[in-house]
Each structure stands twice: as C-alpha cells, then as structure tokens.
C-alpha cells in the first residue's frame, strides 16, 4: 500500500500540513480508524481516526471528558472498541487485553496509578514480566537502579509504594515502562504530579525515544509542555477528533480555541483586594505525622479576607498538613489557629473537628488534593455528593433531598460538567469533571475561608481558567482563599501573596505582583531563600 494523500494507515505516507505542503515522510506505527466507544449512554469516542507515527511525539489534547483516556485505553487493551479498526504497522489487529497490547509493543502510563501499594517499587516493576529463571528481585533492583542512574530518576527500588509521595509513584510508573521497553509509548497526564525538574528529565527521555524511532503519545493539559515537547497535536472534542496541528505552527491560544470550540481568553486577572482584614491567624503551628515525622515546624502567618494567599513548595513539604490542620482534620502538636470573624470575634480552631468548626459558624470550605479519596464519595451520584455538606441541615431525622439535587443541577449547568445526568456516580466522570463537582460544591456553601489544594490538577486549560475565575469571584466576595498550587506561573499570576514552605517551615512570604519566579523557586528548596531580593518578607 503506497498511496498519496493522507493517513491511509499503513506504510510510509505523505502528510499534509495546513498550508497543503508535503511535510515529512513518516511511517504510521498505529492507525485508528472509525473508533467508537460508548459507556451506557455516554459516547466517549465517536468515529475517531488517528495516526501515530514512528519517530514522533504526538500530543493528544482535549477538554476533560473529551475521550482522550478512553481512546488510548483502547490501544493499551483496557477497553475494547464498539466499532472501528486498529492497525499496527499497517496490519489490522485486535487488541483484546493489555497482554496483547504489550505484545504489540504498546506501553502505557495510565492517568491513575497502576501500582500495588504493598509491593516495593521493584516488585511493581517486574510484575507480569515473563523472564527466564526464578524470581530474582536483587537483580531486578540493580537493573532498576541502572535505569534510574541512566536517566537521572530517583527511585528507591526497595521502597514500598504506600510510603511514596505521588511524584515518586509517578516516577515508578515511568521507570516501569522504561524497564519493560515499548515501541509505542502512551503517557496519560504523566506530569500532573511531577516537579518541573522531574518533568524535564522525563521529556529528555521521551525525546531520546523519539530519536530511536519510537512512537510517543502524550496526553497533557499543560500547553507549554505541548509546545516544548511535541511535534504534532491531535485535538479531541466531545469524543471526536476534530483535527490536528503541527506544534511549530500553532500556539496555546489556537489550541485552546480548537479544544473548546470557541474563542476563549487565556489570562488570569488579579483584582485588587477590597477588604484585607485578617481572617485566619496561625501562630507557631507544629504538626507531626502518624509515623512521628515533624511535618510543620513553627508555622506562622495570617490569611486575610478578600485575598488569595498562595502556598508554594515542593510536594510533601507540609502543604497537605497545613490545610488539613486548618480544616480540623489533623492532630496538632502545638500552636494556634485563630479564626477572626467580620465583627472581630475570635475562635480558636485547634481541637475542633470539621463538624464543630461548622457549628461555631465558621464557614470553611476545603478542596482536598485527593478528590475521590477525601472530598467525594466515588460511588455516590452527584446529588448525593452535594449532600455531603448539607445533609445535617434541618432538625428532622431525615435528610432533605431536594436542595442538593437542585444544587447538583445548577453546578452541572454553571461549570459545564459533562455527565449524562445528576444520577451518575462521580466515579464514572472524567478526572476534570470530578474536580468541578467538588469545587462547585465547596464554593456553593458560601464560605468565608476557602482552602484549596491543587485545584486545577488534571483540569483542562479552559476549566482551569474557569476555576481561577471562581476563586477570584470568591476573593471579591471577601473570602480568604488559600491556594496551594504547583505551577509557579499560575501562583504568581493569581495570588496576592505567596507563602513559601520548605520542609515544613515557612521560608518566606512574598507579594504576588512583585515576586519573581526564580526567587520563589529558590525559597522552595532552601530555607529563608538565602539571597532573596524580590518581594518583601512579612511577619
């Protein structure tokens, strides 16, 4: 088969750019033709054609729930298409299990970790491999170490997964595919939890693989990553492939418009704080984790009403404990957390659980990091999840079901959540939509303090901006917003002030508008940010 014009699926083919020029001569490793996949009434993929070429990095873009994961899962054997054909190296194939996908040389890093928690890294890595001889974990551990050394990753092969931070887990996932080797590598949002440094290392690996003639597909919502890494971009919208772009010839704005299907603006505004009276004052806070490690050391700061206080820091440096301590979910060693009402009355929050805090009239909302593990009940539907915050209202022994249903309908509408209806278990929604449900609910409870951890993790760009807008609206209403973020650019653009944590200590608080990225980065890794110049210190 050797024809002109278009991705016929097999063999080398010529490829047209926007300008109609013949660009390059590439071989399709995988071609998907007319792929359709439905889940009940949800059409996740509708008649999708897609080609993945050897020696190329393809970015798969699309809003949350547009069907990216579904499409790739059909390549990795997790899902089986309802309709359509998959060709590998030009030959039609059937991939009915991950094993078969593996045999075709397809490796995938899944959006949600596929790791056995009670196993060590190396046990997870060798899992399922058909190696000769008896199981030799020592040898495998050595190889893992070699791979890590080679690519600059940092994984302790003997460490149990449950002892690992999310970024360590993600690294294990990456090392796993490297260990196994793959000709066609699919990465579903691999960088969502990686630090910029780790991301850079990963990208270096991917570029190497591309140079080796392997095919790489990456799904990400971070457009700058798309720009620096990929050669080509395919865009899914509502389950359909609506076109592709050459990375070099496009920009973030164009990609976003294509994803969303209309013109959107991509800038974060930062309204001037209107109130700025203290709302939460934290003094000398010390927190110890269950296994006895000090997670927060003598943390003091004040969060003001009507401002967004950013919290920056590398992962695991105490952000989670800080928010949970304020929310009443974390035992505190010492220190104080004082809530200051509009009328100046004070309430000590330490020692209270979330229920007590709410009973005291402190309207506190919290968007935790682990949405399905903490903020929501995965198997309950949207309406019942709305009830989590409101079910206690009223004196009756019985719950009020009407209000949460109405709220669910409203949030689905306002935040454009893609779901068949409000009776769908949230487990079935795509990651981004799950997040919208949670944020929507938390904001709906009219908080005076809004704690948020990584609110836009996994969200598509459009949704992220929607969320930023929502946060700004809250701020304008006089809410004290505490925003734990991982993207420094966003922190700097959005926040009025940024508190930098380093290993459980406050290494400084800087003003958002004047802070510089490099300085904040320094403070994240070294206490006090030694040679800080940008921004001033508070308290």
């Amino acid at each position: 088969m050797d024809q002109l014009a278009g991705p016929a699926g097999a063999g080398p083919c010529l490829f047209l750019t926007k300008g109609g020029l013949l660009l390059e001569n590439k071989t399709a490793a995988v071609s998907m033709r007319g792929i359709t996949k439905t889940f009940g009434s949800v059409v996740a993929n509708n008649n999708v054609d897609l080609d993945i070429y050897k020696g190329e990095i393809l970015s798969l873009l699309g809003e949350n729930g547009s069907g990216k994961t579904t499409l790739m899962n059909m390549l990795s054997g997790i899902y089986f298409p309802d309709e359509g054909q998959i060709l590998i190296d030009g030959k039609p194939v059937t991939i009915s299990s991950p094993k078969e996908a593996f045999d075709f040389g397809i490796g995938m890093i899944h959006q949600h970790f596929k790791l056995v928690d009670v196993f060590t890294a190396v046990e997870n890595i060798v899992l399922g491999l058909k190696e000769e001889g008896k199981l030799d974990l020592e040898k495998a551990a050595k190889r893992v170490q070699d791979i890590c050394d080679n690519y600059g990753f940092d994984v302790d092969p003997k460490k149990k997964i449950y002892d690992m931070s999310v970024s360590e887990k993600q690294t294990v996932e990456i090392v796993k595919v490297l260990y196994r080797g793959a000709d066609i590598l699919i990465l579903d949002e691999p960088t969502a939890v990686l630090t910029p440094q780790e991301t850079d290392k990963l990208f270096a690996v991917l570029r190497n693989m591309k140079d080796d003639g392997k095919a790489v597909v990456i799904i990400t919502h971070k457009l700058h990553e798309v720009e620096v890494l990929s050669d080509r971009v395919a865009v899914l919208r509502k389950g359909e492939n609506i076109g592709q772009l050459i990375t070099k010839e496009t920009n973030a704005q164009e990609m976003t418009n294509m994803m969303v299907g209309r013109e959107v603006t991509l800038n974060i505004n930062r309204p001037e704080p209107l109130f700025s009276s203290p709302r939460i004052r934290i003094e000398g806070l010390n927190v110890k984790s269950d296994d006895g490690v000090m997670k927060l050391k003598d943390v003091s700061f004040t969060a003001n009403a009507g401002e967004i206080l950013g919290i920056a820091g590398i992962s695991g440096c105490g952000q989670k404990e800080l928010l949970e301590a304020i929310a009443g979910l974390q035992d505190v060693e010492s220190g104080s957390i004082t809530y200051i009402s509009d009328d100046g009355s004070r309430e000590e929050l330490i020692g209270m659980d979330p229920q007590k805090i709410a009973d005291k009239g402190v309207a506190l909302s919290f968007v935790p990091e682990d949405r399905l593990g903490m903020g929501l009940v995965a198997s309950m539907d949207l309406a019942d999840n709305m009830m989590l915050r409101s079910f206690r209202s009223g004196k009756s022994m019985l719950t009020d079901r009407k209000a949460p249903r109405a709220l669910a309908e409203q949030i689905v509408h306002d935040l454009e959540i893609s779901t068949p209806d409000i009776n769908t278990p949230v487990r079935k929604l795509s990651g981004g939509n799950v997040q919208k449900v949670l944020v929507g609910r938390e904001i709906a409870s009219a908080p005076t303090v809004l704690l948020s951890a990584y609110v836009v993790r996994g969200l598509d760009i459009n949704s992220s901006y929607t969320i930023y807008d929502l946060l700004n609206q809250q701020k304008e209403k006089g809410v004290a917003v505490i925003f734990v973020g991982e993207d420094l650019d966003v922190l700097l653009e959005l926040c009025d002030r940024i508190l930098v944590l380093c290993d459980g200590r406050v290494s400084g608080i800087v003003d958002g508008p004047t802070a510089d990225k490099h300085g904040v980065g320094m403070m994240m890794t070294s206490l006090g940010g030694d040679h800080m110049d940008g921004g001033e210190m508070h308290e």
Partner: protein, 367 residues
C-alpha cells in the same frame, strides 16, 4: 500474533430498567426449576411435578402452614434487616447468630429469675430492652475494636458467635430441667410469665406485624435518614466521612448497636413470643441465611421480603417433600443451592451485555 476478534465481548450495561431485570430473574428461576427437576428425576426417580406440588403444599398448603411460613419469613427478614446497615457500612457482621442467641439468653434469664416477681406488663418490655441491649453489646464489642484499632470484624464477629453459643450452653446447664438433661424446656409454661400474649388469637401475628414495621423503619432509615446517609459515606470512604465531620468511630459503633440490637430483638421474639425456651441452636443458622438474603436483595429491604420468602419457601418445601417422599431433607438444600446459583448468576445478564463476534468486516477503507 492474534488477529482474531474475541468471540464474545462484554460491556457494562446502562440501567436496564426494573421490568426487564425481573424478567431475567424470573427466567433464571424457571431455568433453575427445570434443572432441579431433572436432578430430582435423576437422583430419586420421582416425578418432579409432584415434588414441586408437594413443596408448594408444604409452604402454603393450609392456614397454619401460611402462618408458620409468615413467622419464619419474619424471623429471617428481621435478621437480614438487622445485618443490612452494617453491610452498607462495609462492616462484615457475620455475628448475627451470636447476637440473636445473646438476646435470647438475656430474655430467658429475665423470665427465669424475675418472671415470678414482675407482672407481664413490666416484664415483657424489660425483656425487650434487655435483649436489644445484649444484642447491641454483642455487636458493639467488635465494632468498638474496629473503630478504635481497625480490628478485623469478620473474624471477630464470627468468633463472637461461638462465644455466645458456649455461654448459652453454660447457662443451659445451670438452668436445665431436670438436672443433667442439657435442656431448659419451656420456661414458665404454667405461669406464662414473660410470654407475649397472642394477638387476635394468632400465635405469630405479633411477630409478623412487628417485623413488617421494622422493615418499613429500616427502609426509611437507610434511604432517607441522616444516619443512613452517614453510614453509607463511612462505608464508602472513611476519609471523606472525616472530611465532612462525620464521627466515623461513633457511626461504626452506633450502626452496630442498631444491627446487634435488632438481632437481639429476634432473640427476644423467639423466647418471648414463639419458642419460650433457649437452646444453642435457637438461631437456626439465620445469622448466615440473613447475610445471603441481604446481599441477594442488594440491601433493599423490600427485595429482602422476596428473598426471605424464597429461602423459607425452599426450607418448608424441602421439609414437606422429605415427609411425603421419605426424601433426605438435604435434597432441599441442593435445590436451594441450584436456584440460588441461577438467581445470582442472572445478575450478570442484568448488569452486562454480551456482544458476539461481528460479522466479517470489509477491508479497511482508504481515505
């Protein structure tokens, strides 16, 4: 490499609608009955129709049989209802048996020790409260350890059954009449102290009505009450429960107090209303059957009525055929098993759709 499309492929169905679901279940039961009929003929040479006829007669054949059926359903249903809140909370309460027994034990103790000194009007409520309390404590102990130290409740509750059995065995020997006989006999047969009076001249009407009320109660409790909502959240995610300020420990303990308390009430009903005695086998395996009923009905109290009916029907029917045909009563268990296998197997066809291999497709088209 494999180029064949798999012969069958399974996908999850969207909601199938209750009508179709019941058609599938009905078909499963009918298939099971046919298979069992064949098994009957093969194993015993009997005519399956007369066997089924007899089973039907055994369960529904006379007003008395209907009352007995009603009572048996009430007991089994009540145990299932009792276990359900715990199951919904993902607390595997295998201890129904022991909780019933301990309720029965306390009821008996009160009948024996204070039966003479209190009028029934005070005695029976006292027995009720004590039995519910004892059952609640019996379930509350494992719940407490589960809440505080996450102690495995499956094993704990199972062991509590045996502890209860031995405790009952101990008291039977203390109370036995005559000495050494290993049985207590009917308690207060002459004074009727602690005997729940018959309602409208019917021995079992009270039990049936009480359980009917409890069915409605549990249905509302699980579906509409704040407690019911809380325990579901705890069952799905303890972290989320903590996050919204639900006191996980107290919800676990509270739910098991309810669960055990209801089992205790079953014990009370047995001693005060129907059996008026205590034996180590009084619970009669209902603690385990109840688990099956609860799951079979997928925790839906109304469906539990049907599930209990099915199981009790099978038991009563099996007893009848063993009388009528001198057929080993265990044969009933075999048929029950077969029917259950088909019935649970049918859930697959309700939840999943099977796709057979597509017809040969034409070659891939060019663009």
């Amino acid at each position: 490499m494999n180029n064949k499309e798999p012969l069958i492929h399974i996908t999850r169905r969207a909601d199938i609608g209750w009508k179709k679901a019941w058609v599938i279940r009905g078909a499963a039961i009918i298939t099971a009955l046919i298979i069992s009929a064949i098994a009957v003929t093969l194993a015993t040479g009997l005519d399956p129709f007369s066997v089924y006829g007899k089973m039907f007669e055994g369960a529904f054949g006379s007003p008395r049989k209907m009352w007995i059926l009603g009572k048996e359903i009430a007991f089994l249903l009540c145990v299932s209802l009792a276990l359900t809140p715990a199951f919904k909370m993902k607390f595997w309460n295998l201890g129904g048996e022991g909780q019933i027994l301990i309720g029965a034990l306390v009821t008996s103790a009160i009948m024996i020790y204070v039966g003479e000194s209190l009028p029934n009007g005070a005695l029976i409520p006292l027995m009720f409260i004590a039995a519910a309390g004892a059952g609640a404590i019996w379930a509350g102990i494992p719940a407490f350890f589960k809440a505080k130290w996450n102690t495995n409740e499956t094993l704990f509750t199972l062991m509590m059954n045996y502890v209860a059995i031995q405790l009952v065995a101990y008291y039977i020997i203390i109370w036995e009449v005559p000495k050494g006989s290993g049985k207590v006999g009917i308690i207060n047969q002459d004074s009727l102290a602690g005997w729940m009076p018959d309602l409208a001249g019917q021995k079992y009407l009270f039990v049936i009505l009480l359980v009917a009320l409890m069915t409605i109660g549990i249905h509302v409790y699980l579906k509409y009450s704040k407690h019911g909502y809380e325990l579901t959240v705890v069952g799905e995610s303890r972290n989320t429960a903590r996050y919204v300020g639900i006191k996980v420990d107290s919800v676990i303990i509270r739910t098991l107090l309810l669960s055990g308390g209801m089992c205790g009430i079953v014990g009370w009903m047995m001693v005060s209303s129907t059996d008026h005695t205590i034996t180590t086998t009084l619970a009669g395996g209902r603690g385990f059957m109840g688990i099956m009923v609860s799951w079979l009905a997928q925790f839906n109290p109304v469906a539990m009525i049907f599930a209990s009916l099915l199981l009790v029907f099978m038991q009563r029917g099996a007893a009848e055929i063993s009388t009528a045909f001198q057929l080993n009563q265990s044969f009933g268990d075999i048929i029950t098993g077969i029917i259950l296998f088909f019935l649970i197997g049918s859930e697959f066809f309700i939840n999943y759709r099977i796709h057979m291999r597509h017809k040969e497709k034409e070659g891939t088209e060019n663009v």
